[in-house]
């Protein structure tokens, strides 16, 4: 399969603190790839670097053959332009526009889409896919439960019909059944809509089961990478992340 995202030897620092060191990754088009790691390993930093919210100290990131981020500031695209290239991030903590209705949030997700009939069609698809959002379309997002807000955030990201969907801890703080539901939806999105998914998750078992390939991040470094099924069997992964 063709490579869609290439992360080449990137480092990120917050002041004097190194958050990511020499991270390299490759994501194939159409795959679900997951990144697992403990709190503070640098998972969210990596996703923020991909969308240009976090400047790189060294290295570069290439999307569909185009360099989108590099250590030289003028060679990097701004976040809104990276979004326009077809990368959508569902940020950690969801970051829904709480004072806007569900429908308005979806409208914002489709900000880059000019054709109103396309927007309406996609909204209908989202209401079919996440029926609870259809039922709450005129409600302020603030009034939604955590699980509903997570679905809202995913639906919002899908409104732009991205090529690459980045998900930052979609299961965080949610009841196990809801997490299962969200992960099955993610697999459907990947299979039916042909969206490449890059998933960051603390729930390693669920993430690796859903993924064809996985990376393990510790203290800002990639320490392991393999097929998802192989990582599930890996002794080190089992000890550290699967509680075996």
């Amino acid at each position: 399969m063709a490579e869609i995202l290439k992360i080449d030897d990137i480092s990120v620092s917050y002041g004097s603190i190194r958050a990511l060191s020499d991270v390299s990754m490759s994501i194939d088009e159409g795959a679900i790839v997951s990144l697992i790691g403990a709190n503070g390993a640098g998972k969210s930093t990596l996703l923020n670097a991909i969308v240009g919210l976090q400047p790189l100290k060294t290295g570069s990131i290439t999307f569909a053959g185009e360099t989108i981020c590099q250590s030289k500031h003028h060679g990097s695209l701004t976040t809104d332009l990276i979004a326009r290239r077809g990368i959508a991030l569902v940020p950690e903590g969801r970051h829904v526009f709480a004072d806007m209705t569900v429908e308005e949030n979806l409208d914002m997700g489709a900000f880059m889409v000019k054709d109103q009939s396309v927007i309406e069609k996609r909204k209908d698809e989202m209401y079919d896919f996440f029926p609870i959002l259809g039922a709450r379309r005129k409600q302020k997002t603030r009034s939604l439960s955590g699980g509903e807000q997570q679905m809202m955030a995913i639906a919002r990201a899908l409104m732009s019909a991205p090529r690459l969907l980045l998900l930052d801890e979609p299961g965080l703080g949610l009841a196990p059944l809801i997490v299962q539901d969200i992960f099955s939806k993610i697999r459907i999105i990947n299979e039916e809509n042909k969206v490449t998914v890059f998933l960051v998750e603390q729930n390693a078992r669920l993430a690796l089961r859903s993924s064809s390939y996985g990376y393990v991040l510790e203290n800002g470094r990639i320490v392991l990478e393999d097929k998802g099924s192989a990582l599930l069997m890996n002794e080190r992964v089992q000890k550290a992340y699967l509680g075996a």
Partner: protein, 308 residues
């Protein structure tokens, strides 16, 4: 005149004043909503708007000498629209030159820059136009109309109608249009709005443009009562800022409500409390202090709490 009708008259007068405060308060609150920054040069933009409006109006009609009629009224609206456009450009330029380079600086830096811009605008106007105040001639016959015991002037009607139309247009814009919704999204969560492909720099420019255009309208409407002079923006701007805080800074409906409320309370409060004319302005600031003590987020402001 009975006390009741007297106070009803005060309320009508206050409503007129309040509508002007609302228009100006919107600029403060919209900019604060996105940048969390008080644009202290906003009051001076209303002064520039009033001068531009006056110059164009006088140029079109011959000013004081013109007899009010259809043409003067048309000229008045032409002058207003032209002034709005000029102030929109001015507002965007100020943001680009004086605030944007400081966006990642210490929070005090853009504030100081704004005060600097304020001085440049008011002193620049004094240099160009002189310090004497000018009258903005009424573009229509301003014969008072008696409704029962209350007197309403056509000027008051124009102020209220123009203000209401502007506020309805703004409400439509922020709730129904693509860019308007993007503006709300950017004020709720700037980073996330960028993830949607929204160019926040453009949204900020647009915010300054709209706020400044509304200030131009406010400045022109205010100049019938207050005349036009280089420092006219200082007190009116400050009170509009108070109105924005009373309504809940960052909240658009709050600015509209706060302006109207402040205008009415000012008009009613001064005679009620027997405050002499020269001290009238204290009412607005006393109200500000009370609101800050009782409900620091303003009437429509809310304590943001995130759902985890």
């Amino acid at each position: 005149m009975s006390t009741v009708t007297l106070y009803m008259q005060y309320i009508v007068n206050g409503l007129t004043l309040g509508a002007i405060y609302s228009l100006i308060a919107l600029g403060y609150t919209m900019v604060y909503g996105i940048l969390k920054f008080i644009n202290f040069a906003h009051g001076d933009i209303l002064m520039v708007g009033a001068f531009i409006g006056l110059l164009i109006y006088n140029g079109l009609t011959g000013g004081e000498a013109a007899d009010p009629g259809a043409w003067t009224l048309a000229a008045f609206f032409i002058a207003m629209v032209a002034s709005m456009a000029a102030c929109a450009v001015l507002g965007m330029l100020i943001e680009r030159i004086a605030y944007k380079p400081l966006r990642n600086a210490n929070r005090l830096a853009p504030l100081l820059s704004a005060i600097g811009v304020s001085f440049i605008l008011s002193n620049g106007a004094a240099w160009i136009f002189g310090t004497q105040s000018r009258r903005f001639p009424y573009p229509f016959e301003n014969e008072p109309i008696n409704i029962g015991a209350i007197t309403i002037t056509p000027h008051q009607i124009v102020v209220v109608v123009v203000s209401v139309v502007m506020m309805l247009l703004l409400t439509f814009f922020v709730n129904k249009t693509r860019m308007g919704k993007a503006m709300r999204a950017a004020s709720l969560d700037q980073a996330t709005s960028q993830l949607m492909g929204i160019n926040v720099n453009r949204v900020i420019s647009l915010t300054f443009a709209i706020g400044s255009a509304l200030a131009a309208v406010g400045g022109i409407l205010a100049s019938f009562d207050f005349r036009v002079y280089p420092s006219m923006g200082t007190m009116t701007g400050l009170k509009a800022f108070v109105a924005a805080v009373i309504g809940g800074i960052g909240n658009i409906q709050g600015a509209m409500l706060g302006g109207i409320l402040l205008g009415i309370l000012e008009a009613v409060g001064a005679p009620l409390l027997h405050i002499p004319n020269g001290m009238k302005d204290t009412v607005a600031f006393a109200i500000l202090i009370i609101v800050l003590l009782v409900k620091p987020d303003g009437i429509l402001g809310k304590n943001e709490r995130e759902k985890v």
